[in-house]
């Protein structure tokens, strides 16, 4: 597989997903519709890293607009039938080619990629990292996060990129974020959600059990609970995510930049043909689904209801976090995926995102580590990183 869509600096130590802009370098979000697009500015996170002396190695391949499982449907990649699916950025981190990588977590692709490469990815609390310079799809839940091999490396990068940015209206007011990986985990409480655990295959279940055992060895209390909210939360997020994506990618129309069809006689044909040629099957499915969710006839029953579900889920989860410091779940149902037909992608991603949707829906942080996932209430990234580090230590 091709890791880079564009190489910037062979010796760079940070890879950046193609959903994130780097000034003057091709930034296409894995899509033909943005073919040849060179942005006039870098993402705020990239800028902050460069200011601190980190250097960007290149733009890593992502699936078109990061809508797929782990990056298999990029216009710039060459995945063949029967290939095992891996994320580009997560693999570069795993192989030690870069210290860390930035990715945009919108529908779980980054967290799944980390799990399949056995590295970590932190999706931080919504609003802590600027989305300025992110090729935006689902504005209300996407968040820029970090891939790395250790909790400490994630903490190091997060402390550089987090913080208020006036260029992003959803950026939270300036708070100094500290990412501590050495919180005392002794006595912390973690729960395993039965409904999600049961959806995973045996190998994945074994990873969860092993992780739980490692936590217990550090005097973390681990118990199983039953809570039936993840399916409905996922449906709500898929409604919001597809609707927002449909709206955000509507600007890619062949008029201003990116791909323009050679075959048109009027403006309607320019729109239709450019977009038909520029988007892949999965993006088209998302556009159609999202457009339907916003239509007059569906809005009240779908989009508006999803917004209400978002508030309910947030309340339920906050109640749960009164009792537990973190929730332990699978990141995806399997430990290995092979390439498949794009026509099945929409359903496949929908099914897998039951594990990842809640953090996107309500903005809480989630850490994909050791091929399992930890979630906590907002701003408790340090707890997640400390739990992960406690398990790392045990492995040494």
């Amino acid at each position: 597989m091709k890791y880079y869509a564009e190489i910037i600096n062979e010796n760079g130590n940070i890879a950046v997903d193609d959903t994130i802009l780097v000034k003057d370098y091709l930034s296409s979000a894995g899509s033909k519709i943005l073919d040849g697009y060179k942005p006039l500015f870098s993402a705020e996170a990239v800028e902050r890293l460069e200011n601190k002396g980190y250097s960007i190695s290149g733009k890593t391949n992502v699936g078109e607009f990061a809508l797929d499982l782990v990056g298999e449907f990029s216009y710039y990649n060459d995945i063949k039938d029967g290939d095992t699916l891996k994320g580009a950025a997560s693999e570069l981190v795993k192989q030690g080619k870069v210290k860390a990588a930035l990715g945009v977590d919108m529908n779980g692709a980054t967290r799944r990629a980390a799990a399949l490469s056995d590295v970590s990815f932190l999706k931080p609390t919504y609003g802590t990292v600027s989305r300025y310079g992110v090729i935006s799809c689902a504005a209300s839940g996407e968040q820029l996060g970090v891939y790395a091999n250790s909790a400490d490396d994630i903490a190091e990068i997060m402390s550089v990129i987090a913080g208020n940015d006036k260029k992003d209206g959803t950026s939270l007011p300036e708070i100094s974020y500290t990412y501590n990986t050495n919180e005392d985990v002794n006595g912390k409480k973690v729960c395993i959600v039965k409904e999600l655990f049961d959806k995973a295959d045996e190998n994945t279940k074994a990873k969860i059990t092993a992780f739980a055992d490692a936590l217990k060895a550090q005097n973390v209390l681990v118990e199983e609970i039953s809570i039936d909210i993840f399916e409905v939360a996922n449906t709500a997020w898929q409604i919001l995510m597809t609707a927002e994506t449909c709206n955000n990618v509507s600007r890619y129309d062949g008029v201003k930049y990116g791909h323009r069809s050679e075959n048109y006689k009027n403006i309607d044909e320019l729109y239709v043909n450019s977009r038909t040629e520029g988007f892949n099957f999965l993006t088209k499915a998302v556009i159609l689904y999202g457009s339907e969710m916003l239509s007059k006839s569906r809005y009240a029953d779908c989009y508006d209801k999803a917004l209400k579900v978002r508030r309910v889920v947030s309340d339920v989860m906050n109640t749960l976090f009164e009792k537990y410091d973190a929730i332990l779940t699978p990141v995806c149902s399997k430990c290995e995926y092979t390439s498949y037909d794009i026509k099945d992608a929409f359903t496949k991603v929908f099914e897998e995102s039951v594990f990842t949707a809640v953090p996107n829906l309500i903005g809480i942080p989630a850490l994909s580590t050791n091929s399992v996932q930890l979630m906590s209430k907002a701003f408790c990234e340090s707890t997640l990183l400390s739990l992960a580090k406690a398990v790392e230590r045990k492995g040494e």
Binding site: L21, A29, Y132, G169, N247
Partner: protein, 473 residues
């Protein structure tokens, strides 16, 4: 049959702000070239996020207060989706569910007496760009994208074209005088909803909408044409009226139905997740209220009471910025009548010579009041004060510094003036002799020498009297 016209209005007004509504592009009110005032945000490039311009909220709320609206303390933005090449994101950011102002009212006085027109709501939104067509291709100019607008929506309360035009005229003078909008050509655009019913009927007739007109004259003609068309259709069954959107053709003076496609669009509105709800708290609202310009007629009376002339009042009311400057100078303790003369005669004259307009005056109220007070207390003469004004207006000089640097403000007590006069007499023996010999004009030479020495400070009348006393005594 006697008919009654029922008209509702949607008026778009461009707000007078330094920068656009969601980005920091400025200069959009007078661009030099196409795509002169654009940035990645207002061109719809990926990665850019809208950032709310607070000034737009303040101006929209001020407009609402002037139209007696309630201000919604919680106001949100929605996205309106449609494809058109002049709309770079393929959506317009506007307000659907929580507009900033609701339930206003404005009085309109016509030959039929004074009537209340209810304002349903005022919402904020961004403008779209412009297409320029040549024979072979089309070009997009994004200078106007994201220019801030308010849309003022009335209830169907108008009963004549005259009322509509009077209302629009009132809005225009209100907004221009208060600085909310320049209301220049095309900066005020109207959609007119019109229906006709038999006098006394409860039910509304079939409603049509005439879109996007900017001249008052065209609006009046369009309403009259459309009303007649409706009346003919009802009375003589000339055609069947349908609810539709029409456009007015200026040349033929007729309205034409627009393609149905444009009227039946589903805009798929939804709340914009990139813009957090705006909360207007008590403190902010009080601030907006405090800065709200007084209604025109009240303001005029206030000026009249201060002894300002009608002509000056007219100038002040048509230039909000200048009226504000005057108010500030007066608040700093200057006499209103004098201050008005300084601004509208002296400054205006200097501006005219420099090829500038009154609204280009950018002297700070503090500087102007400093100057006026010096003159009032005879510490500085008018000529020197004018020199300072010229330097400030033509070269942007700092008035306080200019006065100081030129030594206009030498400590001038009586004994100092006394000494200067002595010295002038001593060093101009010929002129003294001439004066004593009856040549009145010779006094000017000695007086000039005094003034030169005083470098503009001191009251010339006083010095002249003292000099004459000395020579005569």
């Amino acid at each position: 049959m006697n008919f009654e016209l029922v008209i509702g209005l949607e008026t778009h007004v461009e707000l007078n702000t330094e920068s656009k509504i969601f980005c920091s592009c400025g200069g959009h009110s007078s661009p030099k070239e196409p795509n002169d005032c654009v940035c990645p945000a207002c061109c719809g490039m990926p990665g850019m996020l809208p950032v709310m311009n607070k000034r737009v909220v303040e101006l929209a709320a001020t407009a609402g207060l002037m139209l007696n609206c309630e201000i919604n303390r919680y106001t949100t933005f929605d996205k309106k989706n449609y494809y058109y090449p002049d709309l770079p994101c393929a959506y317009q950011i506007t307000q659907l569910n929580h507009p900033i102002c609701v339930n206003g009212c404005v009085k309109v006085k016509t030959s039929n007496g004074e009537r209340d027109i209810r304002i349903k709501q005022i919402h904020m939104e961004e403008d779209a760009g412009k297409l320029v067509h040549s024979s072979s291709s089309s070009f997009v100019d994004f200078n106007r994208t994201s220019v801030p607008l308010i849309e003022i929506v009335t209830q169907p309360d108008f009963r004549s074209a005259e009322e509509v035009v009077t209302y629009l005229g009132k809005l225009k003078s209100m907004f221009v005088s208060s600085g909310i909008s320049e209301c220049e050509e095309g900066a005020m655009r109207c959609d007119v909803n019109i229906s006709v019913r038999e006098e006394g009927a409860e039910e509304f007739g079939v409603r049509t909408e005439i879109k996007n007109m900017s001249s008052f004259e065209a609006i009046e003609r369009a309403i009259k044409y459309e009303a007649q068309r409706h009346m003919d259709a009802i009375e003589f069954s000339t055609e069947e009226l349908v609810q539709e959107t029409r456009r007015f053709d200026d040349v033929s003076g007729k309205t034409f139905a627009m393609r149905n496609k444009e009227t039946e669009a589903d805009y798929r509105y939804f709340p914009d997740p990139n813009l957090m709800p705006i909360v207007i708290d008590d403190e902010w609202l009080e601030q907006i209220k405090a800065n709200k310009p007084v209604a025109l007629d009240e303001k005029a009376e206030e000026y009249l009471a201060q002894g300002i002339s009608d002509k000056e009042i007219a100038m002040l009311l048509s230039e909000h910025k200048i009226a504000k400057l005057l108010d500030e100078v007066v608040a700093l303790g200057c006499n209103a009548k004098d201050a008005a003369a300084w601004i509208l005669t002296d400054c205006a004259g200097i501006l005219r010579k420099a090829g500038l307009k009154l609204k280009d005056l950018s002297i700070k109220a503090e500087s102007l009041s400093y100057l006026i007070k010096l003159v009032e207390s005879s510490k500085l003469n008018r000529g020197a004060a004018k020199k300072a004004l010229i330097a400030a207006i033509e070269n942007g000089a700092d008035i306080e510094k200019f006065v100081e640097d030129n030594g206009f403000l030498k400590e001038i007590d009586d004994s100092f003036i006394e000494a200067v006069i002595e010295k002038a007499i001593e060093s101009n023996p010929q002129a003294v002799a001439d004066y004593k010999a009856g040549k009145e004009k010779a006094l000017m030479a000695i007086f000039g020498a005094c003034m030169k020495e005083l470098k503009g400070s001191g009251d010339p009348a006083v010095i002249r009297t003292k000099l004459a006393e000395k020579l005569n005594g």
